[in-house]
Structures are given as structure tokens and as C-alpha cells.
């Protein structure tokens, strides 16, 4: 039975890799392999690009004889990223799956249902933690002689970190579930809580940068202090370095935590999964509604969909918060940043403008509500298709939502950058122009990707929001664009000068955005009709 359920769960997660929804046929083996390779390449890019660089910057700790400290830090980052990334998806994945009633009504043990759901949680946690832990281990072996014992320990450490992520996200997911049973405006409260969490995360992150720099200079002092004060953390890091005793102790603790978590979840699963929770009783009072246009009605519907789901808001609308926070940070600390940037980029004239554009584009790319919006229609697709609205009107509303929610914070961040950074008048124009063009490009790209084989048969909204290939490509594709914009300038683009370079990027982005827009209007609309 468990095997069956796990198969079902895996089919759901990886459906788009094996099944072409547009053609209503199974994919060929070659197509499936290509899809997996593509996903693998994206994850490798993320792992190498972000956390490989971080591991590299911390690797002097290994040479200084503090490999445990290096692994402890990388492990903590992996735990933070993994648990934070999976907390809300754990809640919905474990307790809010649409097939809960169906499965619970069948002669299937709760253990089997829970195990199959936990496997999804584990895979999600593994995905998040592995992008940190794998580069950490790879960089480690550039600094120490290779031994099989070290390799086995490091691999087991990767496994243990992923298990800790699962434990943390399960316990946090459980806490969210208990809380949501008591509160009435669930999505709002969940989102506010998450935003507080995100604020804390970034606060710690920025503090951590200073702390890490300080630690790199005084690694021996900090190392000894932490070893004395938090021996568990020392063992956690030491377990990855080939110390079998440390590994055994950490493994025992992790396994115990897994058992405790299992017992907690098992005792409460049925109650939480079948509870309806608190519902605010609002009595309808008749009032005359204002008549609205079709486009306005469709846009309001998209907005209602977006604000009804904390998962949707947190995963696809984080850019709004990022840009507002970044703008405020710039206004507060911008003056201290200017001399540092000027010094670092002294031999790259115009780099400040290019990097400013890249930063805004990266934040803009974090808003990707258009990408899962087609799949999120799910079983409601018949409504949009049976109403007298064109497919393009439906798609346009999805685009408009992303543009409307992104334009204000983008402009705010651009104003902050233009006010704070030493830019010429033309560069200031590009700091506004390029991100705005990119915003349109990003929304179009997301929707184009969302129209490629959308999974309309999801049983949990987290699959289209978080685990679909379209969302991954839209998000990482946007980030890759931003990285290329800044990176290529610092590498060779500066020779052209900021104005010409940003001009070329603006025109190229505008052309691609235009092409994507035209594709959406004709072929995209046809693809939507064919769904």
C-alpha cells in the first residue's frame, strides 16, 4: 500500500516530466530525460552560483584547521534555507491535500498516508538543503586529501542535514496547522507570520555577513568559544569531516528527533487533517455592487486568488517585500555603501549603474505570480472557458496582476537607487527604464512557461506554485538574466560604457518581451483554449 501511495505522490510531483498535458500524451523517454537534465542544470546553476561561491569564501576555515566550523556554518545555512523554504508547503502538503478525504475513507493506514506525504516533504527539504550542502562538500575536498572515510562521512552529513530539515519543517508545519485551526483569517495571518519570519531571516542574514567576516579573521578565537559553549554545533560540523564518533552521536540525535516528530505527527494527523477550523461567520447584507468591466472583473479575480493563499503570496510575491526593504535599506545605509562601491568598482566605470539595474531585475524576477496562474485554475478552468471572455483577456489579467503588483515597488527601489548612487543623468534613466522593460519580460516569460504543460490536476496547490518546471524556469531564468546583466558588465561590458551596454540590454530585452507578448496573444491564447 505504501508503495502505491508513494508512487501516486511521485506521479503528482513529477507529472509534467512524464506527461505532456498539451498533447494529452505520455512524454517520450528522451523528452523526460531532457526535462530532468534541464531541471538538474538549473539546480546546479543555483548550487554552484550562489552557495558554491559562499562555500569558497568560507573555505579558508578549512585551511586554518577549522573544517568543523566551516561545515557547521554551511549546515546552519542549509537548515535555515530548507526549513524556511518548506514550512508552509509542509503544512499544506501534509494536512491540506485535496485527496485527504478520499484516502482516509479507504482502508489505508494513517501511517502509510503520512509516510507518503512525508516523502514529499523530505524531497522538498533535500532539494533546498542539497543546494547548500553539496557545494560545501565539493569545496571541502579541494582543501583536504580525499579519503573514502571522509567521503562517506560527508555524504552521511548531507543526509543528516536533509533529515533535520524535514524534522524542523514538520514541527513548524505542525505548529502552523495548530495555529490555523484557531485563527479565522488564515492566509492573512500566515502571510504576516511568514513576513515576520522573512524579516528576521534577512536581519540575521545581514548580521551574519558581518559576523562571518569577523569570524574569518578571528576563526581560532570564535572556534574555541563555540566549541566550549555549543558543543552540539561543534559535533554537527565535525561529523562531516570524517570523525565517525561525532557522526554517530549526531546521527543518534537526528534519528531520535525523527522518531519524536513522527510520534507527534502521528498522534495528531487525523485530527488536524480532518478539522475544518475556525470560520468567521459573516452575514450577507445586501448592497448595490458597482458594475465593472470584464478586464477589471478578471483582474480582481486574479487578485482574490493571489491574496487567498499564503503559499501563493509568499512564494510568488516575495519580490514586492524585497524591493521595499531594499529601498528602505538603501535610503538608510546608502551613503555608507557608495564609497565601498566606488572603491571596489574603481576600474570598471559605469558598473554601479549596471549592477543597480541587475539588483532591481533580480528582485523583480522574484515576483512570478503569472507563472503558476494557469495551472492554479485547476478544476475551475471550465469557468473561464465557458464565460464570454477571450483566452487573451484571461491571460492578460494574469499578466496585469504581476505587472500591477511589481511596478510600484520596482519604481520605489529605482527611485532609492537613483537618489543614493552616484549616477549620471542617462544612467539614471536606464536604472528606471531597464528594470521596467525587464518587469514586462519577466511577467511574459512566466506566463509563457506557465502555459507549457500546466498541471491542472493537482491535489495540492503547492505543486503548481512551488514544484512546477515553469515556475522554476521563470524564477531562475529571471535571476540568470540579472546575474548576466551585472556579471557580463563587470567582466567585459564596461569596455562599451554603461550607456551603450544598458542600451543594448534594454533594446534586446524589449524585443524579447515584445516577441513573448505576441506569442502569448496568439499562440498562448490558442494553447489556453486547447487546455
Amino acid at each position: 500500500m505504501l508503495k502505491l501511495l508513494i508512487r501516486k505522490q511521485m506521479m503528482e510531483i513529477f507529472r509534467s516530466y512524464f506527461y505532456n498535458a498539451k498533447k494529452n500524451t505520455a512524454r517520450s523517454k528522451a523528452s523526460t530525460i531532457l526535462m530532468f537534465l534541464f531541471f538538474g542544470a538549473l539546480m546546479t546553476f543555483l548550487a554552484v552560483g550562489m552557495f558554491g561561491a559562499l562555500s569558497f569564501s568560507l573555505s579558508s576555515m578549512i585551511d586554518a584547521g577549522f573544517a568543523w566550523f566551516y561545515f557547521a556554518l554551511m549546515g546552519l545555512i542549509a537548515l535555515l534555507l530548507g526549513a524556511f523554504g518548506a514550512i508552509f508547503s509542509t503544512y499544506t502538503g501534509l494536512y491540506l491535500a485535496k485527496d485527504n478525504d478520499l484516502l482516509l475513507a479507504m482502508p489505508i493506514s494513517i501511517h502509510a498516508i503520512m509516510t507518503s506525504r512525508l516523502l514529499s516533504v523530505y524531497l522538498m527539504g533535500l532539494m533546498y538543503s542539497a543546494v547548500v550542502t553539496i557545494p560545501a562538500v565539493v569545496i571541502y575536498f579541494f582543501h583536504v586529501p580525499f579519503t573514502v572515510s571522509r567521503l562517506i562521512c560527508a555524504l552521511l552529513w548531507i543526509l543528516l542535514v536533509s533529515l533535520i530539515v524535514m524534522v524542523l519543517s514538520c514541527l513548524l508545519g505542525y505548529a502552523v496547522a495548530r495555529l490555523s485551526l484557531k485563527i479565522k483569517r488564515k492566509s492573512l495571518v500566515t502571510t504576516v507570520l511568514a513576513l515576520v519570519g522573512i524579516g528576521l531571516y534577512y536581519f540575521l542574514y545581514f548580521r551574519a555577513i558581518d559576523l562571518v567576516q569577523d569570524m574569518l579573521v578571528n576563526v581560532a578565537i570564535y572556534g574555541e568559544k563555540i566549541k566550549g559553549a555549543a558543543y552540539g554545533l561543534y559535533l554537527f560540523g565535525q561529523s562531516a569531516t570524517g570523525d565517525w564518533l561525532a557522526l554517530a552521536i549526531v546521527a543518534a540525535v537526528v534519528l531520535a528527533a525523527c522518531i519524536v516528530t513522527w510520534l507527534v505527527l502521528q498522534r495528531s494527523f487525523l485530527k488536524v487533517a480532518t478539522a475544518t477550523g475556525a470560520v468567521a461567520q459573516v452575514k450577507y447584507t445586501e448592497r448595490t455592487a458597482r458594475q465593472q468591466s470584464i478586464s477589471s472583473a478578471l483582474l480582481k479575480k486574479e487578485l482574490a486568488r493571489f491574496t487567498s493563499s499564503s503559499n501563493y503570496m509568499l512564494n510568488c510575491g516575495l519580490g514586492v517585500l524585497l524591493m521595499l526593504l531594499a529601498g528602505v535599506m538603501l535610503l538608510i545605509k546608502g551613503q555608507a555603501l557608495v564609497p565601498v562601491l566606488s572603491m571596489l568598482l574603481a576600474d570598471r566605470p559605469g558598473a554601479v549603474a549596471a549592477l543597480a539595474c541587475a539588483v532591481v531585475c533580480m528582485a523583480v524576477a522574484s515576483n512570478d505570480m503569472a507563472a503558476p496562474s494557469v495551472a492554479l485554475e485547476g478544476k475551475n478552468l471550465w469557468i473561464a472557458k465557458s464565460l464570454p471572455v477571450t483566452s487573451w483577456q484571461v491571460l492578460r489579467a494574469k499578466l496585469d496582476l504581476q505587472l500591477l503588483l511589481t511596478v510600484v515597488p520596482t519604481l520605489f527601489l529605482c527611485v532609492c537607487l537613483a537618489v543614493t548612487l552616484p549616477l549620471s543623468a542617462v544612467e539614471r534613466v536606464f536604472v528606471f527604464l531597464l528594470p521596467l522593460i525587464f518587469m514586462v519580460f519577466s511577467a511574459c516569460l512566466g506566463l509563457v512557461m506557465g502555459l507549457q504543460n500546466p498541471n491542472l490536476l493537482w491535489t495540492n496547490e503547492i505543486y503548481p506554485i512551488k514544484q512546477s518546471l515553469g515556475v522554476t524556469v521563470a524564477l531562475l531564468g529571471g535571476w540568470a538574466y540579472a546575474a548576466a546583466l551585472g556579471g557580463v558588465y563587470v567582466w567585459v561590458g564596461w569596455k562599451l560604457g554603461a550607456v551603450i551596454y544598458l542600451g543594448i540590454f534594454s533594446i534586446a530585452t524589449l524585443i524579447i518581451a515584445g516577441l513573448l507578448y505576441l506569442w502569448l496573444k496568439k499562440r498562448g491564447a490558442a494553447a489556453f483554449e486547447a487546455l
Binding site: K283, R290, K379
Partner: protein
């Protein structure tokens, strides 16, 4: 009102609807019956424009669905077999959304929401999220949304499933009143007693093929609709 000519829809090798032709005139309540998987839902979805079909022509009020789908959709309303509505909206927001799309004036929608909401005893719950509605409440909301913009043609897939006896009775009355006012209704059902009492005409479909259609008297003669249906099923399977 509705002309279906030689409609054919295939799913891969399987022919779901096979050269089906039907004409429904204004004022007619037209029942559509058949076994599970006979092609009823596929036909209804094709008429609504949700399902693309392989061959045939569909005209609503003389307008070709292929040539001007928007004009056709403006004239019809559809209630699917499972009322999957926008769970993230409240009942009233959903009704206002539908009214906005169909361009129903503020005064008209208020009057109709009041009328049908009270009729189905749903008014008090209209401010509640649809996610908290029972299946029957969703079905009532789907019915209200269908009547809200005063369509010319209403297509319904198993409309009585989930409704309580009182709501079923009210819906039957609404259907009759709607058709007496010049509208037309094409609906599928497995409840043959309801079809027999309510329908002016009936069509029986089996494995995608229309095997009998006409006025209720033409189709069933002196027998009950149930007897005729079962007889036809037996004949076809032999």
C-alpha cells in the same frame, strides 16, 4: 435555439461523440440521457465551447460557435456536473464576478440575486467563502449564476445532483418558467422520472451515437421512459 450538426469528438482512438445531430427550439426543455460514458458531458462541453471537437457544426441562436464563440457564450449559461467554483471567493463575489463578465447592470443583478438567493435560501450565506459551502450550496450558487444574466440557452450537466428535495422542486419550476419565457434548456440526467415529467423532448445517446430523439410521446409511447431506455440499452448491447 441550438443546432448541433454531425458533432464528432474523439479522444485518441475512442470516439466519444459520433456524428450527433440535434435541434432544440426556443421554449423546449430538452433532456439528454444515456449510460455513464455515453458522451453526454462531452456533447454539453462542446456546445459550451470548453471542449474542442473534431467535426460538425454548432449554432446557438443562429450564430456559429466556431465563427463567433463570444457571441454564443453571451447567450448561454452552463452548469457542470461538479460545481467547482472559485473557492477563494465568497458567494456574492462570485455572483458579482459573473455579472460583471456578462455586463449585468448593478440594479438588475441586485434584484436577481435577491430573488434567487431568497428562493434557494442562500442569501444569508452569500458573504461566506465558497470553500465553506456544501456540495448542494455550491450547486445552488451555480444555478443562481446561470440565471443571473438571463441567458437564451441553459446547458446543465446533472443539475439535480446534490440538491435537496425543495431546491430540486424550485429548480424544476425555474426551468419550466425559463422555457415558457422563450428560453431553451438542454440538460443531462440519470433521473428518468424527472426527465419524463419535465422534458418536452428527449434524446438518448449510447456510445456517442444518438439512438433516439423526439418529443416525449414519440420516444416513449405508452411505456415509461425508464422501460424504453432499458429496452434500447438491451437492444444495443445485443
Amino acid at each position: 435555439m441550438l443546432q448541433i450538426e454531425h458533432l464528432t469528438k474523439k479522444f485518441g482512438e475512442k470516439v466519444a461523440v459520433d456524428d450527433l445531430s440535434l435541434h432544440i427550439a426556443p421554449g423546449e426543455v430538452y433532456g439528454f440521457i444515456g449510460h455513464n460514458g455515453a458522451g453526454k458531458t462531452t456533447t454539453l462541453r462542446s456546445v459550451v465551447g470548453i471542449q474542442q471537437f473534431d467535426a460538425g457544426r454548432i449554432k446557438i441562436d443562429g450564430i456559429s460557435l466556431q465563427d463567433d464563440p463570444m457571441a454564443c457564450k453571451r447567450r448561454l449559461a452552463y452548469i457542470p456536473d461538479n460545481p467547482d467554483l472559485y473557492d477563494f471567493m465568497t458567494g456574492i463575489k462570485y455572483l458579482n464576478f459573473v455579472a460583471d463578465v456578462f455586463g449585468v447592470s448593478a440594479a438588475d443583478r441586485q434584484e436577481r440575486i435577491h430573488k434567487y438567493g431568497d428562493l434557494f435560501e442562500l442569501t444569508d450565506d452569500l458573504a461566506q467563502p465558497i470553500s465553506t459551502y456544501s456540495h448542494g450550496m455550491k450547486q445552488k450558487l451555480a444555478v443562481i449564476s446561470a440565471w443571473l444574466h438571463q441567458p437564451r440557452l441553459i446547458l446543465m450537466d446533472e443539475p439535480f445532483v446534490g440538491l435537496d428535495p425543495k431546491a430540486s422542486h424550485i429548480l424544476k419550476g425555474m426551468m419550466r418558467e425559463f422555457c415558457d419565457g422563450g428560453g431553451a434548456i438542454f440538460f443531462s440526467t440519470h433521473v428518468l422520472e424527472v426527465a419524463e415529467k419535465l422534458c418536452d423532448k428527449v434524446a438518448i445517446i449510447r456510445h456517442g451515437k444518438l439512438i433516439r430523439s423526439g418529443t416525449m410521446e414519440e420516444v416513449k409511447g405508452d411505456d415509461s421512459l425508464e422501460e424504453v431506455f432499458l429496452e434500447l440499452e438491451d437492444e444495443e448491447s445485443c
